[in-house]
Amino acid sequence: MHPRRSLSLMHALVALSIVALVAACGPGASAAPTPGPTTAATTSVTEPTEPPATQTPPEEVTGDLLVLDWSGYDAEDFWIDFKNTYPNATASFEFGTSDADIYGKIVGGSQADVFHPYTGWLQFYVDEGLVEEIDTSRLANWDVVPESFKALGQFNGKQYFVPWDWGFTSILHRTDHIPTVDSWDILFDTQYENRLSMWDDGPGAVTVSSYIHGYDETAITDEQLEAIKAEWTAQAPLNRFYWAAEPDLIQAMQSGEVWAAYAWQGAYATLLGEGVPVAYANPQEGRNSWVGVYGIRKGTPNVDLAHRFLDAKLGQATGENLVNLYYYGTANGDVMAAISDVTLKEAFSIDDPAILESTNFTPNLTAEQRDAWTAMWTEVKASQ
């Protein structure tokens, strides 16, 4: 390229980018929306602690709540009750990509007021003093939450977490290739080599093995862990791939690449909706269930606003959106009972209480287990 011409090209590029920058930074490009009389929100606003929730009319509640959540849950559908009830308060979001990531960010000094971990990870926050105790008397919607769910958020007799979303884990399978599935050990069936898919997660693998062999998940011995490592190392070639995010799995099952997989019921409902012939197994060892909860970060100045947010999260519209838009269960028992869509009833097995009874809930991990099981899993993958 002739130097002169390329010089003018360079000038043009620089000019273009400066124009783009200026245009993008023009009016309307503020960092966060601040509709009400709040101060510019770069960190969460410190309001003086309010009197108990019941005494302040909703229109006068102000402030911005910073929520550390999984990407996607920042959509207004998932906090619509909060938005509608408190028109002068706002919610902003920071994002985490996994439970480990969220934990790391909280430990690392995130200023989020509220965060969203899942069962299995809760003990760490309690043990290390990272969560505030929740005053359930401030939660008007607390009664719609089933007792078993409430218990999941309780430690040492105190309520530290508010359950919000939940779902099953089981085997999802294409009925046109595998008509019935009775047990978790289908994941080890060599007959379906290259047509299986396991979730890319060490603790998940340990869970499946525990169900199959009857191990106690909370007390896995070293010998058991070695056995688990050996059997998953042998299982690895049977997978088409390990899935890390539901869309991978959904695309693969829809296209027939994968015939059976460890899956959450969101994938099941999505595929049913697409008309793909799939079924969600009820293995003899029982399904697994996981619950997502919200906790209040210790030391946050917005304790009151956080309580209002959590209360609104349990609201009806929010719960309905969660169920209808993303096929996850809600902790709002009334919403679950009122589900009428056939696909969803199938997915949540609402009409079959026996399933819920045989379901195993994810216990809380210790840090040693978390590390050891992840290390085991990396070795399984590294040995291929």
């Binding site: 090209l9 620089v14 990407s71 979001f93 995010a245």
Partner: protein, 265 residues
Amino acid sequence: METQVGRSWRGLRLPALPGFYWLLIGLLYLPIVLLAVFSVNANTSLTLPLRGFTLQWFERLFETPALLTAVKNSLIVATASSLAATALGTMVAILLSRFNFRGRGLLTGLAILPLIVPYVVLAVALLVLFTVIGIDRSLVTIALAHTVVAVPYTTLIVLARLIGAEPQLEDAAMDLGATYPGTLRLVVLPMAAPAIASAWITAFTVSFDEFALALFLAGREQTFPVYLIGQLRFATTLPVLIATAVLLMIGTLTLILVADRIRRR
């Protein structure tokens, strides 16, 4: 083969050469063409068979403010970080190719170092740094991180151009009375301009689709890749995301082709 003289030397006359280029272009754009097909298709997932033609995904695109904001954020971050990385890379390249000083090896190592560090690790390291200094996570922190990871590319590209180049032009300029900074400005930089432009585009490319750092160091504002991967959790949003990607691609290609037309007029 006839020899060529002067500026019209055109190298090996192999028809395979342009053929090779267009083959690669075809392979690079094939998935994009596929995505374009699906962006006007009523399918909600990337599987066959195709179902009817529809423009609803593009409509929905413009009705999703979070999506548009994310794209805008990506543009801002990419522009800022690419300019900074190009400036820095050019500076380092000039230092390494035009000066002799004791820290040369160290400077080279430092400029290349970000390449060795996996993004996840760099993300955590920068997070710790920003926490210690007290900078809140935001688009600024993402831009800083992107600058860091782009510097090796910009340095290497500009350096490949400047290294070992004969000093006659610069000497001549200084003989004619130019100061050294003037020589840099009037001789060296224009000579390196194509490489600098390439470096800038590379840095922009590195930043625009970068996910790991953008997620870790994000405050309240998401960039487009972060938004996309978050939305992918929910399969129903896939078509709108595809439509966005296709629209961006069409827009970019149009801009480039128009700019090329104008330039050659």
